[in-house]
């Protein structure tokens, strides 16, 4: 775990008419980049002022050399400020934090993402590709994304199965129905998933029924990121778990999905 002054490299905004918009932010943080593993996260101070107050947690989208790359959407004050970073600024980054994915060697693996839940899974997919572990990537979105982002994803992940709620890209429907359709053709040895709670919950129940090992990356409100404040707990089947330290990646069966 390292507290590093990172320099903003570049920031790309993927937006076209009628697309969901995503930001891709590159940070120069050599010490964190050297240690980071798929599924780990960083905490960023979005402003030197006191509002927003806390750091913001982001799964690492990718690491290369001295660079950490984050993929995010503007959802509030912190990400709104970050979206204005143009490069050259310095920001405080704490990381790499938490426990990442435990890589399963059996093929094929399925990587199932919902919305910005793609962030940790892209890093994982790149790692699996490097290790020669075959995988299928499935991404669910509300509507289509910009071609530039898709090109970038294809580079490391190969072809993706995409589901959109409005059918504007890929197949129409929820990612969970995509998983069931794909299951007709292929049986996965394991699943890694990240996305909204209802999606993860549905997938977790399905994977359990089909007896497929599954890991999920979760998110919640967080203050310290290092296991001190106990603010980020999630309900596990055997009691509360610190998401920042015992997660953010958990085995699906560890989590109490009914809320």
């Amino acid at each position: 775990m390292i507290l590093e002054r990172a320099k903003i490299g570049e920031q790309r905004h993927f937006i076209e008419e009628g697309t969901e918009d995503f930001y891709l932010l590159t940070l120069i943080a050599p010490n964190i980049a050297r240690e980071a593993k798929p599924g780990q996260f960083v905490m960023i101070k979005a402003s030197y002022t006191l509002d927003p107050f806390l750091r913001r947690p982001f799964s690492i989208f990718f690491c290369e050399g001295e660079k950490i790359v984050l993929l995010y959407k503007v959802v509030g004050k912190g990400t709104n400020l970050m979206s204005n970073w143009r490069g050259g600024e310095e920001v405080s980054v704490l990381g790499p934090l938490g426990r990442g994915f435990q890589i399963m060697a059996e093929c094929p693996q399925w990587l199932v993402a919902g919305g910005t839940g793609i962030a940790p899974l892209y890093f994982l997919g790149a790692e699996l590709a490097k290790r020669g572990i075959g995988f299928q990537f499935i991404w669910g979105l509300r509507y289509k994304v910009a071609q530039g982002l898709l090109d970038l994803l294809n580079e490391k992940l190969g072809s993706l199965v995409i589901y959109t709620e409005d059918g504007s890209m890929g197949d129409q429907g929820l990612v969970t129905s995509g998983v069931e359709a794909l299951y007709e053709k292929q049986k996965p040895a394991g699943i890694y998933a990240c996305g909204p709670w209802p999606m993860l919950k549905a997938l977790a129940f399905w994977a359990k029924k089909e007896n497929i090992p599954m890991q999920v990356s979760l998110e919640t409100q967080m203050a310290c990121g290092i296991g001190a404040c106990l603010g980020c707990i999630v309900e596990g089947k055997d009691g509360y778990k610190k998401l920042c330290q015992q997660g953010p990646v958990f085995k699906a069966e560890e989590i109490k999905w009914e809320r």
């Binding site: 507290l3 107050f53 919640t220 409100q221 967080m222 290092i226 707990i233 309900e235």
Partner: protein, 304 residues
């Protein structure tokens, strides 16, 4: 920079500098050890510790508000026995004062905790009196001067350690409460604890915290806390530790100038894990610039 004295005495407790980290946000200290040199701190106030382990509140436990944070952790902790076995040995390696924050749900629990921690090699006790008293139907101990006096007395009888009573801000007159603690033998008071508060999700119509209400901390509290410290130091002769919204050395100096003998830094550790070290260095640089070689010249120097 010439030789500058930062050492202070807070009652019987001697600190090498007036900057401690507050109970709660700093966990058991070990979490921050990879990020800062704990030896540089004036002291560490350990997370609230109870007789038995406590599970804490259901999530969500945190809500950010402008310039502050609402929390409802629910005093989750591993209990005093596990603390002594698993956490204290690590903390003892460092050249800093260890103050353990204790809380109970009856006077007896406070007494037992004080006794249990007395000869463990820690340096002081901080007593959280903001908990509900289960014997009187859950009314908080800290709002009643008689209860505060009783807890203080019982704790002081069971320990030789310096005892600080941590005060809740949600009282009609904080001076009365502080006086009750002082008269009952406390070495000092620390204030303020977080302020009871809540936040609502207008779309779900539900509270944002799993516990419905929580405690507000952070810079939005600082002016309130500062005034309460001022109320106590000008009315009573009792050492005070100032707590509430300190995020930099200027904030810390405000408390010291008003008359706090030391300060504790809480939620700012979240934004900047190195904040306490920066505050210590900032105070030193300030004294140097002002041509003052002893922090004690600054403490209580408020001109009114």
């Amino acid at each position: 920079m010439g030789k500058i004295n930062l050492a202070v005495k807070v009652g019987r407790l001697k600190l090498k500098n007036p900057v401690l980290v507050a109970s709660g946000p700093f966990g058991y200290g070990e979490e921050y050890a990879p990020l800062i040199d704990l030896n540089q701190l004036g002291g560490i106030v350990v997370k609230g510790t109870s007789l038995k382990p406590k599970i804490g509140n259901p999530p969500p436990r945190l809500v950010e508000v402008p310039c502050g944070l609402l929390n409802a952790i629910g005093l989750e902790n591993i209990g005093v026995e596990q603390f002594m076995e698993k956490k204290l040995p690590f903390l003892k390696q460092f050249d800093t004062k260890i103050m353990v924050n204790i809380f109970g749900f009856s006077i007896d629990e406070y007494a037992t905790l004080a006794e249990r921690l007395d000869t463990t090699g820690i340096d002081a006790l901080e007593v959280n009196v903001s908990c509900p008293n289960i014997k009187t139907g859950g009314k908080a101990f800290g709002i009643d001067p008689k209860m505060v006096a009783q807890i203080t007395q019982v704790v002081c009888q069971r320990t030789h350690l310096p005892v600080f009573i941590k005060l809740s801000p949600q009282v009609t007159d904080i001076v009365t409460i502080a006086k009750a603690a002082m008269d009952a033998g406390a070495d000092g008071v620390s204030l303020i604890n977080s302020f009871p508060a809540m936040a609502i999700d207008i779309y779900s119509g539900k509270p944002k915290l799993g516990n419905i209400t929580g405690g507000l901390s952070g810079p939005c509290l600082k002016p309130i806390a500062l005034k309460m410290v001022w109320d106590i130091v000008r009315n009573l002769n009792i050492p005070v530790m100032g707590i509430g919204g300190i995020t930099n050395f200027e904030d810390a100096l405000e408390y010291l100038i008003v008359g706090a003998k030391a300060v504790q830094i809480g939620s700012a550790n979240f934004l900047n894990p190195q904040v306490s070290i920066e505050v210590i260095n900032g105070i030193k640089a300030y004294l140097d610039k002002q041509g003052v070689n002893d922090i004690n010249m600054i403490i209580g120097s408020l001109k009114t």
